[in-house]
């Protein structure tokens, strides 16, 4: 999946550490993410994977470490030390964040079209017809009928809300998507369709993504590389299939063997 244009990584994480008082959130995490690559982060609850994701996405400020992001102009910038307007601008253009609960990522009292259009308007789109056409196009791409464009997310099912959240995030053509348990709380058939959709979008748009989940099946389907976390530390990294088929660390072995075989 490594693409040729620029040879450097899109995102370089260097020694990111976040403490909650004396307790460890995540400690000394290093990794590189290359353009077009999907990285999975797995681990049990409390292993620090969400803390790490929030540090990378600028929602939390890491106590130590650097998060180097390659901007559109090719310059590499540390997102931890960049100014807040710049970071928030990244948050609405080059980055996308898909929350586990769609209501955290959607405006529930705004129509589906308004939800998708918000990012466009935030970066200066001022043509109603254009915004609406783009919104309808994106709803179509996430399999939501055009006739639902003026409905509010409260009238949508859980799976539709999640798909709407994805459309809302991807409409500005981000280069890096952060996903926190994107399939959490959905039943398996809806999960399967959502995963199918995500896989298609990732391939089609050449997205780089970091997916946090505790569901090994999700990473098996989506992720090129896998990082296993335990107690705030990264205990194992490698290609997804390699890690899942031949786990080396005792915790990874436990994790892989704990999956119910149906």
């Amino acid at each position: 999946m490594i693409q040729g244009e620029t040879n450097g990584p899109l995102l370089s994480v260097r020694g990111v550490t976040h403490m909650y008082g004396k307790r460890i959130g995540c400690a000394d995490v290093h990794f590189d993410l290359y353009p077009g690559e999907v990285m999975g982060i797995v681990g049990e609850s409390g292993s620090g994977k969400s803390t790490l994701l929030n540090c990378l996405a600028g929602h939390l400020v890491p106590d130590r470490g650097e998060v180097l992001f390659e901007m559109r102009d090719g310059a590499v910038k540390d997102t931890v030390t960049m100014s807040e307007p710049e970071r928030r601008m990244l948050g609405r253009t080059d980055w996308a964040f898909v929350h586990q609960h769609a209501r955290d990522g959607l405006r529930m009292n705004v129509s589906a079209g308004g939800n998708v259009g918000e990012r466009l308007m935030a970066v200066g789109a001022r043509h109603y017809g254009g915004i609406r056409a783009e919104a309808v196009d994106w709803l179509d791409r996430v399999e939501i009928a055009e006739s639902r464009v003026d409905d509010r997310p409260t009238q949508f099912s859980g799976g539709m809300q999640q798909r709407l959240q994805i459309a809302r995030n991807l409409v500005t053509g981000p280069r890096l998507v952060f996903m926190d348990e994107p399939t959490g709380g959905l039943d398996v058939s809806v999960q399967a369709r959502l995963l199918d959709l995500l896989r298609g979008l990732v391939r089609e748009m050449g997205l780089s993504a970091i997916i946090v989940t505790h569901d090994l099946a999700v990473v098996r389907l989506l992720a090129d590389r896998l990082m296993v976390m335990k107690d705030g530390q990264v205990v194992e990294t490698g290609l997804t299939d390699q890690v899942l088929d031949d786990p080396q660390h005792a915790y990874t072995q436990l994790l892989v063997s704990s999956v119910l075989q149906v």
Binding site: E84, P85, R88, R92, R107, V110, S111, G113, G114, G117, E118, R119, M121, A122, V123, R126, H127, Y128, G129, I131, R132, V149, D150
Partner: protein, 303 residues
Amino acid sequence: MMDLRENGPETATEMTDYNFAYLDEQTKRMIRRAILKGLAIPGYQVPFASREMPMPYGWGTGGVQVSAATLTPEDTFKVIDQGADDTTNAVSIRKFFERTAGVATTEETSKASVIQTRHRIPEEPLREDQILVYQVPIPEPLRFLEPSEVETRKMHSLEEYGLMHVKLYEDISRHGAIATAYAYPVKVEGRYVMDPSPIPKFDNPKLEMAAIQLFGAGREQRIYALPPWCRVVSLDFEDYPFEASKADAPCDLCGADDSYLDEVIMDDSGTRMFVCSDTDYCASRRAAGHVGAQGAIEQEGAA
């Protein structure tokens, strides 16, 4: 009380019970500082230590405090409520300052030096020696979209106003046009998005005027301001441009077709008439001989 009065400006009137214009001098000074800051940063909401006033919140406590800090003994004061000089709110605030400041009051727009208003801008263009004081219920234009004050302040400081257009987008998608008819959001000097208080959007183009405009929100403890001839642009979409709308009829009393109209229901069978909401404008037009469709009947009835 005595000390405070001695610090205050000399008033020629027989003031015995209150400091001039009710508020003590320290408070007026604090409010004036907020006003000056507001004028220096047009459209920016300046926090101020709003005082308890002898009237409930929502009755113009913000406007009253701004007026109190602005008035001098030489001023002539006018108060309008929805354009009218004779409604409860206008009458009681006018009386309040007659009693506590002893200033001259008037109903004529051109004779007033300070005009406190609720929900309207007078029809008659204001001059540079006049000050217009607005009563503001909710100063934050983003409030109904983003409930967190911390977040809205951050949005203002970082100029993140995409959300304001989401509101207008929702209007068009639901009603086929921008249905927001009052408190229509504006961008001031290309920087701050501001709520012009609940004036009808018909009045929005008048916000670029010669007079100083001061906005006071008592409950929300915010003051903001527009210096004269400040650039004020109503937000819109390229394909749904801003339109200053009003009822499509002339005034039934004075025949004016350029003023903002109130629709009055006359009887149980649904007869209605349109009259200027600006009572002074309507009265002065009728005094000058203009007569609307029902104006003649009215005059006969009165005679």
